[in-house]
């Protein structure tokens, strides 16, 4: 009985060592994976593979070589509901002569833009590399899209990205 118990203890000891090795290996693997993800996906640029929900909403286009795409959902800060039928633009940050400030410029026809669908989804494609903010454009005013914590979203877009921005918020209507 004692032997059995000892054997059992031994087995358990052996399993613990194995478990430790597996755990350490797993942690190392996780660290390695997380480093890889960080390198290829800076904050707010989560994945290179559109999630299923977007595949049901859009026919995702492959951006022209060297250009990028952005997609996400626009939520109204007023009632926390998705905003449908509003026009979302990628507004280019044009530097001011001071060097530190900038002006947000959109061109009505040729800047990347998309009208949100019933679920508030938008998909902007063929975006040139550069610094952008996203804007909700209306005839006589515009609103900058914000992250969930209310901060302005500043995007540095490089070539050949297809970025899920998740939920974005706007003080509208």
């Amino acid at each position: 009985m004692k032997k059995k118990l000892l054997q059992g203890l031994f087995v358990k000891k052996a399993n613990l060592n194995q478990l430790k090795r597996i755990t350490v290996a797993f942690i190392l693997l996780c660290v390695l994976i997380s480093c890889t993800v960080k390198q290829s996906n800076p904050p707010n640029q989560v994945t290179n593979t559109p999630t299923k929900i977007y595949e049901t909403q859009f026919t995702l286009q492959t951006p022209s070589p060297g250009k990028s795409s952005l997609y996400g959902t626009v939520i109204s800060n007023t009632n926390k509901a998705p905003l449908s039928g509003v026009l979302i633009y990628a507004a280019l940050k044009v530097p001011m002569s001071s060097g530190k400030d900038y002006i947000l410029n959109i061109q009505r026809d040729s800047s990347p833009h998309y009208e949100t669908n019933a679920e508030g989804y938008f998909y902007l494609t063929n975006i040139e590399s550069g610094e952008y903010q996203l804007m909700l454009y209306s005839p006589f005013g515009a609103m900058i899209l914000l992250s969930e914590d209310g901060k302005e979203l500043h995007l540095e877009i490089s070539a050949n990205q297809n970025l899920d921005l998740g939920k974005l918020y706007v003080n509208w209507p």
Binding site: G85, K100, Q107, R108, P139, F140, A142
Partner: protein, 444 residues
């Protein structure tokens, strides 16, 4: 050589975009926010720089090159310009290509728009100024766009008097600086009278505009119009209203010559009225009250005079929607007009495009929308107008949520056009608020 060429192509537009904010002392509501729309009218990409100038003439900040594609409209919402503190500014736009610009300014329940200026002058005429004209008031704004300082004088005239009833000079106004005159509380301007004015300088070129605003029951109403640097003997007014779906209009004619002007206003509905106006003075004609034009209609007018005159038209409806546009002289008329911003149920805004035949022969008008679809109106006789209201167009031509431009062309005749845009949908349609905008088209 290349540098010289590019310099020779530079066009400077001055926009007193934020000056309305200064007037918040008297203008109800606020704070006001401005948006600037710049259309590239050229044949190549426009390299545009935008400078924001404070009222003392100091350039607060300038952009580096903004590129605008041929025909496209660059949009700048001033509150999003980083580093630009809240306040009152004018804007100078420089471009490598010909551009046209419009400024809209608004608060939560009032808004107005006006065209940018592409040239200055030492003399400007502002036909409509008020100090409690049936609860309407006005402010005058002038920017010195010359390289040196200049004195700027505002002279105000009343009907029946060619001498000014009030005059004031702002001395040594620095280059690029702006000045303002408020008519509210000016005891020289009596209630329920309409005044006209002249802005003059001691040599420096300036640009001038006026804002009109209501009070009490007309509190949300806000109008803005550009001054005139010269007059003409024939002025065209594309859109006039006599209780047309509740819309009414008033035309104000100012005599900008040195002799009494004998004018005749001919409406496209067949009526005509004649008036005599002393030099410098202005005459307001409230269409539903002072004419026999048919009620329930929209129409156009041709104003003929034996002296040079200028004309501004004010429009409003019972829900306090209000806007102004300038009458147009035939010398600036052509057979093609660019209308940069036309909407159909876009955020509940819709537009009416109205073009007037200012030639001597009948013509067909084509309204080409930026989606490639067009609407044709045949046989528009001289002096008459043709209005295209976007919600009445079939969705196969212009779909809902359209936000684009229109190019109006005639089959040879000279035309002038205006665009009126209003919230015509949803519950806001009958709310007491002024989100009604009007602008003159750009003849090409």
């Amino acid at each position: 050589m290349k540098k010289l060429l590019s310099l020779s192509l530079v066009i400077v537009l001055a926009l007193a975009i934020g000056l309305n904010i200064v007037s918040a002392q008297t203008m109800p509501g606020g704070p006001y926010q401005s948006a600037v729309s710049i259309q590239n009218k050229g044949s190549d990409t426009a390299n545009v720089t935008v400078s924001f100038v404070n009222p003392t003439g100091v350039v607060q900040t300038s952009s580096v090159n903004i590129n605008i594609a041929v025909g496209d409209v660059g949009f700048i919402y001033v509150p999003t310009v980083s580093g630009l503190v809240s306040g009152s500014y004018s804007v100078v736009i420089s471009s490598s290509q010909p551009v046209a610009a419009i400024s809209n300014f608004s608060d939560t329940n009032s808004g107005a728009s006006y065209d940018a200026f592409d040239k200055g002058s030492t003399k400007w005429f502002l036909p409509s100024l008020y100090n409690n004209y049936y609860s309407y008031y006005s402010d005058v704004f002038v920017q010195n766009i010359s390289n040196g300082s200049t004195d700027i004088t505002l002279s105000v005239y009343e009907l029946g008097n060619s001498s000014p009833v009030w005059q004031n000079t702002k001395t040594a106004v620095p280059s690029q600086a702006s000045v303002q005159w408020e008519q509210t509380g000016n005891t020289s301007l009596l209630p329920n009278r309409s005044y006209s004015s002249i802005v003059t300088t001691t040599g420096g070129e300036v640009v001038a505009l006026a804002n009109i605003f209501g009070s009490g029951g007309t509190d949300p109403q806000l109008y803005s119009y550009n001054g005139f640097s010269s007059g003409s003997r024939t002025i065209y007014v594309p859109g006039v209203y006599n209780n047309y779906y509740g819309w009414n209009a008033a035309i104000t004619v100012q005599n900008v010559s040195t002799a009494t002007a004998n004018i005749t206003v001919r409406y496209s509905t067949g009526q005509e009225n004649s008036y005599s106006i002393l030099p410098n003075a202005g005459r307001a004609i409230v269409i539903p009250v002072e004419t026999t034009t048919p009620t329930g209609q929209q129409f156009s007018a041709v104003i003929s005079s034996d002296q040079d005159i200028v004309v501004v038209t004010n429009m409003s409806n019972p829900y306090n929607r209000a806007a102004s546009y300038n009458g147009v002289d035939s010398t600036s008329a052509t057979s093609t007009v660019l209308l940069p911003n036309v909407m159909k149920r876009y955020y509940d805004y819709s537009s009416a495009v109205t073009c007037q035949n200012v030639d001597t022969m009948a013509t067909n008008l084509t309204y080409l929308f930026s989606n490639g679809k067009s609407v044709v109106v045949n046989n528009v006789v001289p002096g008459a107008n043709a209005m295209v209201y976007t919600p009445s167009l079939d969705a196969s031509l212009v779909p809902d949520k359209f936000n684009g431009s229109v190019t109006a062309t005639s089959t040879g005749a000279k035309i002038v056009c205006i665009v009126n845009s209003n919230i015509d949908e949803g519950p806001k349609r009958i709310e007491s608020m002024d989100q009604f905008y009007s602008y003159n088209g750009f003849n090409k």
